[in-house]
Symmetry: C2
Subunit: 313 residues, 2 copies
Amino acid sequence: MFDTDALRLIDAVARLGSFTAAAAELQYTQSAVSRRVAAIEARAGGPLFERLPRGVRLTPAGATLHRHTRDVLERLQRVNEELAAIHQGTGGRLRVGAFATANAALVPTALKDYAREFPGVDTTLVEGLTRHLVDRLDEGAIDVAVVSDYPAGLDTPPSIVLEPLLEEEFLVGLPAGHRLAAQEVVDLRDLRDDNWIEGARPGQNLMLAAACATAGFTPRVSMRVGEWTGKLGFVAAGLGVTLVPALATQGMRPDLVLRPIAQQAPRRTVFAALPRAPLPAARELARVLAGAAGRMAGCTTPSPTSRAVWPPA
Amino acid sequence: MFDTDALRLIDAVARLGSFTAAAAELQYTQSAVSRRVAAIEARAGGPLFERLPRGVRLTPAGATLHRHTRDVLERLQRVNEELAAIHQGTGGRLRVGAFATANAALVPTALKDYAREFPGVDTTLVEGLTRHLVDRLDEGAIDVAVVSDYPAGLDTPPSIVLEPLLEEEFLVGLPAGHRLAAQEVVDLRDLRDDNWIEGARPGQNLMLAAACATAGFTPRVSMRVGEWTGKLGFVAAGLGVTLVPALATQGMRPDLVLRPIAQQAPRRTVFAALPRAPLPAARELARVLAGAAGRMAGCTTPSPTSRAVWPPA
DNA sequence: CTTTGGGTATTCCATGCACGCATGCCTTCC
DNA sequence: GGAAGGCATGCGTGCATGGAATACCCAAAG
């Protein structure tokens, strides 16, 4: 096969039409070029340059080779640029994972900011539960993920580092005509006899159970719905009430009423998860996510424990 | 930049997911692969493979590189195949030049045969005067040319070799209603008072002048027309008579009558011109041209001086 | 015919890169 | 705890590659 040095040599000789000139351009001596070309021609199976009294000229075989040569060299140049871009975080592909609620507002906001700052980065987004996202991150299928610590406390492998983004509380979601919809704040105990809609996936019921336990009752769960849109649809239809994380309130359907919880509301923390040696682009996105998190309504920065109010002032 | 060996190594490791396996495939030792990969990663500016307990895995940067790697290697493979094809004469591009009359029948016939025998060769055709074709051939712009020795005796540079294809004679072209059109053979002296149409390009009048000089008169030239179609159009319209090479009789317009010349007809030899080191494909085409020349009506093989008869029996 | 100049081919030699071998170290699995 | 699989590393060597000098070739000029 042909060496890249050989390709560069072929290109230079073809462009300049002379061994001597090519040698000057590539910082070789003429003799080196001569011998190298001879070696390349031997490997190519025939002469690539026609020797003229003054300089050389491509043979048809040489011209064929030269055409490909230019493309290949150009391609290698592009590879170098892309690698440099990847290492600077200003290019390449970035695969992002996020749980469903984060995709309502936080992640879109952040990705919009990010795309403005790094237009060269090609981002793709996958949605999944925290558990799943951590696994994908660990196996390198995604580069950065937005995850939450609830439920199950987020046992991440040591190869993954977490950066807290925000702390959010859960609100109750009521149908528009619900008897408590007029109140500014809802006491969970007033909902002890209502039907509750909860998620169908494993662990998603822990949050509700814990909150109601704090309030001193056990919720009557009438339905388990996997998807968010379906869950909210059932609530809007008056079939029950549910817990809604504050992050999901953006763009909430108008026939639903969200009210903060009177007693200690269930809370969870949202993290950016990165591999221990993340892509620069991933690290940048984590930074942008933190900025976007600060602008999310109804959420607080992670460390302080200030109370969330809904709707925000 | 990246060496082709490096590219092959990257590809093997990425495909097999292991230094050891890649080493086995490429007939290296594991240690060589390890150090080579380390060197490549240093040049790439960052790790390309993530080391796992069992084997390795591409990092995003590595994946980017690998994508290009495969394309480049594939391309180099294609180059090799093309070069092999060129040297066997079974592929590549063949640039053919021919003078106008040869393009009437000889060259199309030969190219048709040639394409059937070597379907892999991509042929292009340029038309031009012999002088021009020889220059183009000398500078490598075309690979083979069909030229004639008339006029000017064909002084070719030593870098070009000529292979005689055929010897053709010139006929007189008369309008359909001409007073001599009924004769089987025309005596040039009967045309001493006719208007002659001749070519406009330099040297094209020599043939007519010589022929008429042999017959003992000087032709009255009424018009000079550059293009063949125009020339024949004028003759067909009854504006004059002209000389027509035998090769051009194929596909001649029906309102023209061609008649052999009674006295010694002007003749010319047609050659295939090749560079001293021709493409195998060019050499093959020369062979096919010789075959086609043997089947051309009104022409003779070069060495014997047999008289041409028109129309042929 | 000789000279000169621009270009390529060839010979000799030094250098350094890359590979193989042997070994070390880590992790996982039995 | 031992065995096995896999990557990293230190050392020695051989071959490829480039530099310097020179021979060679051709064309144009004197």
